[in-house]
């Protein structure tokens, strides 16, 4: 130093300290955005709605990505927006919460600071260990995880799972895809090979095979919930291999749809309706419809029902028939014959006469995965453990 400092704390120390504190704060909350939306006005709430308690019911919702990602998180945020206007309910949200200890910290602050008594952590990786650990710590708070991971007896009583059988919509979309494909080769861009996503791939394949038994599906795993460059490269390399219909299960399907459109091949959407970005090639898509689900939960909780007193089922599941999921309107390339066949399958799935997973079914290594004479209806726990790829899928998920 050129001259000795006059004060024990020099300006350099102060600036260094401020920078360090700033950098720490910034990195620990890296790219996170926090918002709190409340439409509940204590004066305006009707006495019946707030009968159980004078305090509004505080619901915390966590998203793994941005709330308007044109996919998974947006579908949940739209569902959350649907319950914000209900009387006596206050919703606190946080977007871009990674599946790390950050998720536990976000949940803890929602419980301790915002007084949340119900949490909806909407990403798969929040469950183990973060939700399980906090559920032990806060036994009075209800943790409703979007997924199918809850197991009776194994997990705390204040934890529940809710999920939609979106694979039913993929089955119907697979039918439309097989009709549109000239080569019989379809492609699937997958974020992470977890059972519920593998199941959408298998249902897509089975739907396509119900039209064309020779159809195949090429699988490409990107390994990230959202990685636009890799998703675009995946579509490009599949188009190079002669694949002419592509679908995906990633957080934001927009890049996959746009790249397929640029390559002049067909695509089928995921999460929300993406027809606008691929006007020529968009066939249909498997969409979520969470508003109904969140409204049902809110109504049950306001009526005094909880997971702990048995009023709310620990597994809350539904498919096309319960409006958990729906299909995008058919695009221009879908023929009348394809529409008729797809609608017929949809009706069969809704009334239960069509069961997708019926034995004998073989995986793509030739091993029998469902024995002859067995059928797994939606909701069967065997389907929740799916770690095999059905015959016709080209790929491997053991990684």
């Amino acid at each position: 130093m050129p001259s000795p400092p006059r004060f024990p704390l020099s300006r350099r120390h102060m600036i260094r300290g401020l920078l360090a504190a700033g950098a720490f704060g910034a990195t620990s909350q890296f790219w996170t955005a926090c918002s709190s939306d409340s439409t509940a006005d204590p004066e305006a709430t009707e006495p019946t709605a707030a009968a159980a308690t004078d305090e509004p019911l505080v619901i915390g919702i966590l998203y793994v990505g941005p709330k308007d990602d044109y996919g998974w998180n947006q579908a949940h945020a739209e569902g959350a927006a649907g319950i914000m206007s209900l009387p006596g309910i206050k919703v606190v949200e946080e977007a871009n919460v990674p599946e790390t200890a950050a998720a536990a910290e976000t949940m803890r602050s929602m419980i301790v600071q915002d007084g949340a008594t119900v949490l909806f952590p909407t990403s798969f990786g929040y469950f183990d260990p973060h939700i399980l650990a906090l559920a032990e710590e806060f036994p009075e708070v209800q943790f409703l995880h979007c997924g199918t991971l809850f197991e009776e007896g194994k997990h705390p009583n204040n934890v529940g799972s809710y999920f939609g059988f979106i694979d039913e919509a993929y089955y119907v979309a697979g039918i439309a895809a097989a009709h549109a494909s000239k080569t019989g080769q379809t492609g699937f861009v997958m974020a992470k090979p977890i059972p519920r996503i593998v199941r959408t791939l298998n249902s897509w394949m089975l739907g396509a095979q119900s039209v064309n038994p020779e159809a195949t599906t090429q699988l490409i795993v990107t390994g990230e919930w959202s990685d636009p460059v890799k998703e675009a490269e995946a579509v490009n390399s599949m188009a190079d291999q002669g694949i002419d219909v592509i679908t995906c299960n990633v957080d934001n399907a927009k890049v996959v749809m746009e790249t397929a459109e640029k390559r002049g091949i067909f695509c089928s959407g995921n999460g929300v309706n993406q027809a606008a970005v691929a006007p020529k090639g968009y066939l249909t898509g498997a969409e979520w419809d969470w508003t109904g689900v969140y409204t049902s939960y809110a109504t049950m909780i306001q009526a005094g029902k909880t997971l702990m007193n048995g009023g709310i089922p620990h597994l809350f599941l539904g498919g096309l028939s319960d409006n958990f999921v729906k299909l995008s309107p058919y695009g221009a390339p879908v023929s009348e014959a394809a529409k008729a066949e797809a609608e017929q399958a949809k009706a069969g799935l809704i009334d239960g006469s069509l069961v997708v997973y019926t034995g004998e079914m073989k995986d793509n290594t030739g091993a029998t995965v469902i024995p002859a004479g067995t059928e797994y209806k939606p909701g069967n726990p065997e389907l929740e453990k799916m770690d095999w790829l059905v015959e016709g899928v080209i790929g491997e998920i053991t990684g």
Binding site: P2, T183, V229, S237, D240, G242, V255
Partner: protein, 311 residues
């Protein structure tokens, strides 16, 4: 296999396509960082300039209908962020690494905030040069679709190489980066030279952002860069502060990006996490191979990262 399918030929084609498509952001950001670091300053905030450039480019293209206006606007957004960085690091005893991290978070946060309304709409895209039309194969046609920005980037790399070696201004920048006191004694303004270099460098990063949102992948969302701006800053170190080597490094990284998906599409299914980690593995290998026991980073400007001392 259908006549349209390429089989294993898809691998070199995917690498070539990935190289032509994916290398441009690496190239522009690493050239920008190279220019900045030659003048003795570090700008870690280029990821922020890249993201702000991406959203500015997308928004301007959407509203004006011309993708090129978007590219110019993106460059302008980068210049503006660069100006803030340059002003801050000219203050006494200010550390440019800390300012860079702050600018990275600021730029990214601002881009995410401003970008909310632009996730769903589709903006006009940059045109491509169709170099593959001689081929009947759609795969070849697609792989050889080259963005004019790649050619501009290559031209900038060679021009910058010549600029540092053979021009008076290039020499001034190098003098400032090697020994600011000597440059000052010769009558050159250290502050003004560094400000210009930082701003132009950040402007190049902004253009890289416009390439991401307007050409490949060609869409705006918050994960659009997936850390490419940060990686490109590191690229400069193993390109040894040499613009031409920045070009080769950027092509290498662009090429490996397409490798993981391409291998899966021809049946190499397992180990995709390994293939996806290829660029990083490559960085480590090159770092180990080129490290010197004598000097930690050969080719680094001598005054790199030094903050302005007390007057």
């Amino acid at each position: 296999m259908t006549p349209d399918s390429l089989g294993w030929w898809g691998i070199p084609l995917a690498i070539l396509g990935g190289l032509l498509r994916g290398s441009v952001p690496f190239l522009f950001v690493s050239l920008g960082e190279c220019l900045t670091e030659k003048s003795g300053k570090i700008n870690l905030g280029l990821e922020g300039s890249l993201l702000l450039g991406a959203v500015t480019g997308y928004a301007l293209s959407y509203h004006s209908g011309s993708a090129w206006i978007g590219v110019i606007g993106a460059g302008g957004a980068g210049l503006a962020l660069g100006a803030i960085h340059a002003w801050l690091v000219q203050q006494r005893r200010v550390n440019d690494i800390s300012v860079g991290i702050a600018m990275m978070i600021f730029g990214g946060g601002l881009a995410n905030y401003l970008g909310k309304p632009y996730i769903q709409p589709t903006a006009p895209q940059l045109p491509a040069l169709h170099w593959g039309d001689w081929s009947d194969l759609p795969a070849v046609q697609s792989a050889l679709r080259v963005s004019p920005l790649l050619l501009i980037g290559i031209a900038i790399a060679f021009t910058m190489q010549w600029f540092f070696r053979a021009t008076r201004w290039g020499l001034i920048i190098r003098a400032v980066g090697e020994s600011p006191t000597a440059a000052k004694a010769m009558g050159f303004s250290v502050g003004r030279t560094q400000t210009a270099c930082i701003m132009v460098g950040a402007g190049l990063a902004g253009i890289a952002g416009a390439y991401l949102s307007l050409y490949f992948p060609g869409s705006w969302n918050e994960n659009i860069s997936s850390g490419q701006g940060l990686l490109a800053v590191a690229l400069v170190i193993f390109a040894r502060w040499n613009p031409r080597q920045c070009l080769y490094a950027a092509l290498l990284f662009g090429g490996t990006q397409g490798l993981g998906p391409a291998l899966q599409s021809v049946g190499v299914e397992g180990y995709y996490y390994v293939f996806n980690a290829m660029p990083y593995l490559l960085t480590l290998v090159i770092m180990v191979v080129t490290c010197s026991p004598v000097r930690s980073s050969v080719g680094a400007p001598a005054s790199l990262g030094q903050s302005r001392p007390d007057a």
